[in-house]
Amino acid sequence: MSILSLNNVHKNFGETAIIRGVDLSIRAGEKHAIIGPNGAGKSTLFHLISGRHHVSSGTITFKGEEIQNRPPHEINRLGLARSFQVTNIFPRLSVFENIRCALLWSQGYGYSFWHLLGRQTALNDKTAEVLEQISLQDRARFPAGELAYAQQRALELGIAVASGAEVIMLDEPVAGMSHSEAENAVDLIRRITEGKTLIMVEHDMNIVFDVADRISVLVYGEVIATDEPKKIRGNPRVQEAYLGEVVTGA
């Protein structure tokens, strides 16, 4: 049922407690949004799950295996991929190479220095397929660093999903986009995460309520509610802590 669960997770930076006993259970196949005011610890929570930061205490279980404090590449290999709030791509590689690199591990190439990439037909076809999904096939030969911002975000999504991971974590995937760009991005997210588990941090409430099956509200390092969007709107604690008029207005 639950593919990823956090059990009493704490994270302190020095004296400051950022995450203060989070319990969270993500169901396989659901679209789960994490919302909360600035500084609530949403990105930190992402970093803990994906292995970028170590937890101070508590356990994180992914597909029955404890993953807290393991290096990011090992967590990724188990089937958990993520994007970043700040665009995080390989700027000097071509768009094509960005995606192809993201596919290598799951396609079983490991650290091979005896395969010639040009001859790996299946790999190259799969790369082209992902490029088409994120509508960057025309940009395949461009250095990734020269793409427009929205395209770089799309590429970032492509890198995250390319490996075929079951759980995709997106940290503010539409931040900094115009309204129409954001709409396209949401369509794209829906398409590429079909049948997968999605965990998303997002500030735009329209998108959150539109995409998410369930929402967790994180306030000052604690999850104060996890529920369906409708019930979250009606939850008085949530309204008090965070949403307030936004929900009434929506």
């Binding site: 590689l93 290598l104 220095f113 005896w114």
Partner: protein, 409 residues
């Protein structure tokens, strides 16, 4: 047909290496060609670290030198008839020991890139130099060690008494090593090296341990540096501490950088250019190292992508067939620029002169006469301002040649 097209550049490369010793068949010519062969393999191996893997090493000569020392020891063992195999395989011996050294050092030095890696490489370099003076029986102390390449079993009747015979061995190894280093860039490990160079953190989140990726590149670079060291041992038949010290490490950095780190062919250009400077320019002036330093500084400042980058800049104009429109503007800038360069060199050489007068470009310059200095400074200034004055027209022509035409935009 596709295969022929792909291998065309390699065939041209091989033919060039075959033809060169026919044209430059003097003792000096062959000696320079041998130096180039060694430098090309060494510089390409260095670029596996810096250009492709983002690892700035100040100690790459360690693997070159260790490979070379072991190669000389192997020559000595062949001479003593402990070992019996053809000396054409000596570069492979050098490579294996370069690899062995890299396997060990890389196991801790590739943990991090950036400053940490650079500092460790510097430390290992100093350590190797210190060791070479301590372990005299292996390194031969300050005198170094020497061997004799002519004792091995003849290779198809060739006994390698001549440097020109070694040239063909070296050329074959250059071709093999270059081919394999190129193929490495086309493998997952080679491409991931670029990815880790660009963004090690992202690499972790696509399932790769940046450290392993760096380690693999590091070991490959160590192997090919050792091959170059083995070629050096074959060519010179002796090695000293100088072959693994910071000067040799610095020179290979200059070769790769001046040639262009971002292009596979860059270090080859750099190796050829610096070998020529080293062996020809040094005949004309004691100051050639100063000019090399200036060339490096100017490259870093104005041509961050090196000579190869300078050539590749013209690709767009070449494809648009507007390259010839640049000829005249280039000439207009080149005339005052060369005058500026020549007068600066004249000034430096004159200032360096200890007594007597300087014969320069067919003129006798007398440092005792104030007029000489006045004229020289006047030419320096005039040509400097003329060059600056000529730049806008070059820039305009450049933009014109590279701008999109209507039908393309």
């Amino acid at each position: 047909m596709a295969l022929l097209k792909k291998s065309a550049v390699w065939i041209v490369f091989a033919l060039t290496m075959l033809i060169l010793p026919q044209i430059f068949d003097s003792v000096l010519g062959i000696s320079i060609l041998n130096q180039m062969a060694i430098a090309i393999v060494f510089a390409l191996s260095y670029n596996m670290l810096l250009g492709q893997g983002g690892m700035l090493s100040f100690g790459h000569a360690v693997y070159f030198g260790l490979g070379g020392f072991l190669a000389v020891h192997t020559l000595i063992l062949i001479e003593a008839q402990v070992l019996t195999f053809s000396i054409v395989l000596i570069p492979l011996v050098g490579g294996l020991f370069g690899l062995l050294a890299a396997l060990f050092v890389g196991s801790f030095s590739t943990r991090k890139a950036g400053t940490v890696f650079a500092m460790i490489s510097l430390g290992i370099g100093e350590l190797a130099v210190a060791s070479s003076l301590i372990f005299v029986s292996f390194f031969g102390g300050e005198a170094g060690i020497s061997g004799d390449r002519t004792y091995g079993p003849p290779f198809f009747g060739v006994e390698f008494f001549q440097d020109s015979e070694i040239y063909y061995v070296a050329a074959a190894w250059v071709l093999i090593a270059t081919l394999f280093m190129y193929l490495f860039t086309q493998t997952p490990a080679g491409r991931l090296a670029n990815a880790v160079r660009d963004n090690p953190e992202r690499a972790a989140f696509i399932g790769y341990n940046a450290r392993w990726v760096r380690y693999i590149s590091f070991c490959a670079a160590g192997f090919f540096a050792g091959v170059a060291g083995g070629l050096f041992a074959l060519n010179y038949e002796f090695l000293t501490e100088e072959n693994l010290n910071a000067i040799t490490s610095g020179r290979v950095l200059l070769m790769a950088y001046i040639g262009g780190l971002g292009y596979f062919i860059g270090p080859i250009i750099g190796a050829v250019a610096l070998t020529l400077m080293n062996s020809l320019l040094s005949n004309y002036t004691d100051l050639w190292l100063l000019y090399l330093g200036l060339l490096f500084v100017l490259t870093v400042m104005f041509l961050p992508r090196g000579f190869a980058g300078l050539i590749m800049m013209h690709e767009v104009a070449w494809r648009r067939r507007t390259l010839k429109t640049l000829a005249r503007p280039y000439l207009l800038t080149a005339i005052p620029a060369s005058l500026f360069l020549l007068s600066c060199i004249g000034f430096i050489e004159l200032a360096h002169l200890e007594g007597g007068s300087l014969s320069y470009l067919g003129m006798m310059l007398d440092p005792e006469r104030p007029l000489t200095w006045v004229v020289l400074v006047a030419v320096v200034l005039a040509s400097f301002f003329a060059t600056r004055y000529s730049l806008p027209q070059l820039r305009r022509a450049w933009d014109e040649a590279n701008s999109l035409r209507d039908e393309e935009s």
